[in-house]
Symmetry: C2
Subunit: 477 residues, 2 copies
């Protein structure tokens, strides 16, 4: 009963219940559609999750071909698959025990794949060294993060462990933290300035918990979920200086590193900036950086694999973490293979490169167009205001709700943005998340939706949202 | 640091370190072979794990074809795949959100698959009802078990939570229990009587911890790992009576239910026996039964999926468990698909049935032959004694070690059976597990090895083991 004595008594649980209200309503709507009830739409569009395939983005052919050949090695004989697909699959099968993806993998991942991941990181960071023994592959980055938190959080200490966590924040991290008995120390991203992370705010957040808990770590998400911000090098430098001064462990959730659409935005990793800063910082700041096969343009969420790279972590703590990973069997082999392909895609000259490049460009074009559309449509809609989405998978606009709508929501015992989303799914068949699930400043309201969809889906989403919003505002004004 | 303050100070950690010693030695041996060092063998046979593919058993074609087609739907067009393969893959893809195995699945599993699993259970148990809402799919049964334990174990109670656990026992359960701060209450299976579980022994074990801890559950493994016993209906009835009297939660690890080779042995599920016993038992005994895609003749360990079915569990506790499952994303979709095929294989009349049946029969014949060989060879070897292996994936014979060998091991600070296994891998290239990893009576020694291998591999294993054993006994006599 350990986990839930905690969760039972906290706010987040309440918010999750609100999500359940939405899910229930959606189920009802879908059932009615099935039974032939006439509505202004014929199907519900669900863009609650950062899940491109669910939203209609097609998987990358190269990834799927390699996976299928690994599963069913007869395909290795077929000349329907290009030679680099077959070579890749052969090499990966050799890396699996017994030459089968059906055998258990080592608990921290298949060594050949950790090796490829470390080569990818080194290349990404312009040569900063990366060592496979510091890379732990797991069934997704949620899992990696939970394991690292498990080592950092001491639920038995008289002063509870605290972790600085952004507002707004991707919900599962908060659930993990609370589940472990940690105190979530909120720091607010600055919406007006494009959701930037400001060190004075970190400072304020830290001061505010003096004597209340024992802060041990700072969690950052870059590119942001749901904020959509891509942090600048300067901002990262400041954060590193801050954690170094305050002796905090730095948890860098960088799962959206390949999802950057802003014209001037560029992803720079925490690890790279740390190396650039040189000693003593580069030798001392403890950093965990997370990445995932669920994200990027590949978006293989269902395969469940991610990795964490640890930097400057004390060897005894590394041993603890390794033991923790060893409590369970390794990540699914097929997820690991997807991770290998993600970090080591076809190169110019490879037979699969032209198709791979074409598919990647199509997705990129789609996302750039989507983001542009979202920005234009929402910012032209009275009552909406949306910061530029530079990266990640979500738009997180503010909505200004009419006081009467807020009143009505409160009467129904609901958060106003949940009320809005409930009506939206009912009336327009569009399922998105209310801002209260991610945290927001008092008396501000937001919605979040995934921008990784085909272009026509995004056109339809924005149409439904605009029409609904106009009607909603009218109704409550 | 929560988990490891526990594990750091317990015996099991020491045993795991012994495993590390073995793994290190094996790595050394393999490296030497690669460098051309001449040894009496050319490769190491690793039968430490219950992992049929690693040991050379081939995957089932139907399973792999369906999986490959789900991953790479172009294959659905190919007439190289039989029509039932394509139909199955189509149906399963429709059950995935967005029609892709790359989308996140619901946290307790894809509903259509839970439905199929419950139909399988109902059929297996001769019509005892099974409800999909009581079935939770997860990334493997280790994970399911850890989640259920998490709900049962209260690490903050003044009297620690205890769980009755067999000796010998599959190691990861013990690691999970200890990691959660539970007390492992050992009950000894009766080796002389074929590793049977005796209620008087449960009684003794329970008495022995009076005032020391608060026993809340009984964990049983049937068919046994590593014992190889298949429990009789009568034995199961007695266990159910016992847990009912003592108000214990019953954790039935039934992952080897399809692996039964004994001529007279038959798997009967705890749930079925519970239903047969009728009220009040059938309405009150709280039961969790575990199964896994890793086991059976399919053996897809690398895909990571299993399920737990809950019976008579209090709705509030069910809610806790569901919340716990919801903390992480669902099981890998491909593992779930393997689970669907495992519980819903081709039927007579289906185009894929003939090949499926042939492959299943080949594996069965192999295992029956292996088990017979193991029994005959080991029981004719001086110093060995092996109970019949009726089911599961392992043989767990006793070895009588010469006193001088025991002496030598102790001088080296090692368990005697670890010492034996170390010498075995070094001298004969055979990697197996020492009994001390699973628990055994004082001054008794065992070894464990997987019996799911091709027949010629088993012949080779027994040859290496016999030759080595004869030399080893001579050396130390
Ligand atoms: C910021 C962030 N981190 C981690 C995750 C989890 O990813 P995974 O599927 O690897 O567990 C997500 C998923 O939405 C995310 O948005
Ligand atoms: C008795 C028993 N239970 C559970 C498991 C774990 O299986 P899974 O791969 O589903 O986690 C094993 C694996 O060897 C086992 O032997």
């Amino acid at each position: 009963m350990y986990l839930f004595t905690e969760i039972g008594s906290n706010v987040k649980n309440m918010k999750q219940l609100e999500y359940l209200v939405l899910a229930k309503q959606t189920k009802k709507v879908i059932n009615e559609l099935r039974q032939g009830v006439i509505k202004p739409y014929t199907e519900v569009i669900d863009v609650c999750w950062g899940d491109p395939h669910r939203a209609g983005i097609k998987p990358l052919s190269f990834v799927r071909q390699v996976l299928a050949a690994c599963l069913y090695p007869q395909l290795l004989e077929s000349d329907k698959l290009l030679v680099d697909v077959r070579q890749r699959a052969k090499r990966l099968l050799e890396a699996c025990d017994g030459g089968s993806v059906g055998s258990y993998s080592p608990t921290t991942g298949i060594p050949e794949i950790s090796q490829k991941v470390s080569e990818f990181i080194k290349k990404r960071d312009g040569g900063v060294p990366s060592y496979p023994e510091n890379i732990y592959i797991s069934p997704g980055s949620q899992w990696s993060l939970a394991n690292i938190l498990n080592v950092l959080v001491n639920p038995e200490a008289s002063l509870r462990t605290g972790v600085l966590t952004p507002v707004p924040c991707h919900i599962t991290t908060i659930t993990s933290l609370m589940g472990m008995g940690a105190v979530v120390i909120p720091y607010y991203l600055n919406e007006e300035q494009g959701w930037t992370l400001q060190v004075e705010e970190l400072q304020r957040a830290l001061e505010s918990v003096k004597g209340v808990c024992n802060p041990v770590a700072l969690y950052v998400i870059n590119p942001g979920n749901p904020s959509g911000l891509v942090q600048s090098r300067k901002s990262i430098q400041e954060v590193i200086q801050f954690v170094s001064e305050k002796r905090l462990f730095l948890l860098a959730d960088e799962v959206y590193q390949d999802c950057v659409f802003g014209e001037t935005a560029e992803f720079v990793s925490y690890k790279k900036v740390l190396a650039e800063l040189g000693p003593p910082l580069s030798d001392t700041v403890e950093l965990a950086s997370f990445h995932s096969a669920s994200k990027g343009f590949m978006g293989e969420c269902g395969l469940r694999a991610g990795y964490v790279e640890l930097v400057n972590v004390d060897p005894t703590v590394m041993q603890y973490i390794e033991n923790l990973f060893s409590t369970f069997s390794g990540a699914p082999t097929l997820g690991q293979i997807a991770l290998e392909v993600m970090t080591n895609p076809p190169q110019p000259g490879d037979p699969s490169y032209p198709l791979y490049k074409k598919e990647m460009q199509q997705i990129r074009t789609t996302l750039v167009q989507n983001v542009k559309r979202v920005y234009e449509v929402l910012n032209s809609l009275p009552g909406f205001s949306c910061q530029p989405v530079e990266g990640g998978a979500f738009a997180f606009p503010t909505i200004h709700l009419p006081p009467k709508a807020i009143q009505r929501a409160k009467e129904a015992g609901m958060e106003p943005d949940t009320f809005y989303c409930l009506r939206l799914v009912e009336e327009a068949g569009l399922l998105i998340s209310p801002g209260c699930e991610f945290g927001q400043k008092e008396a501000t309201y937001h919605i979040r939706f995934c921008i990784m969809t085909p272009q026509d889906t995004m056109v339809e989403i924005l149409k439904r949202l605009s029409n609904f919003h106009t009607k909603f505002v009218k109704e409550f004004s």
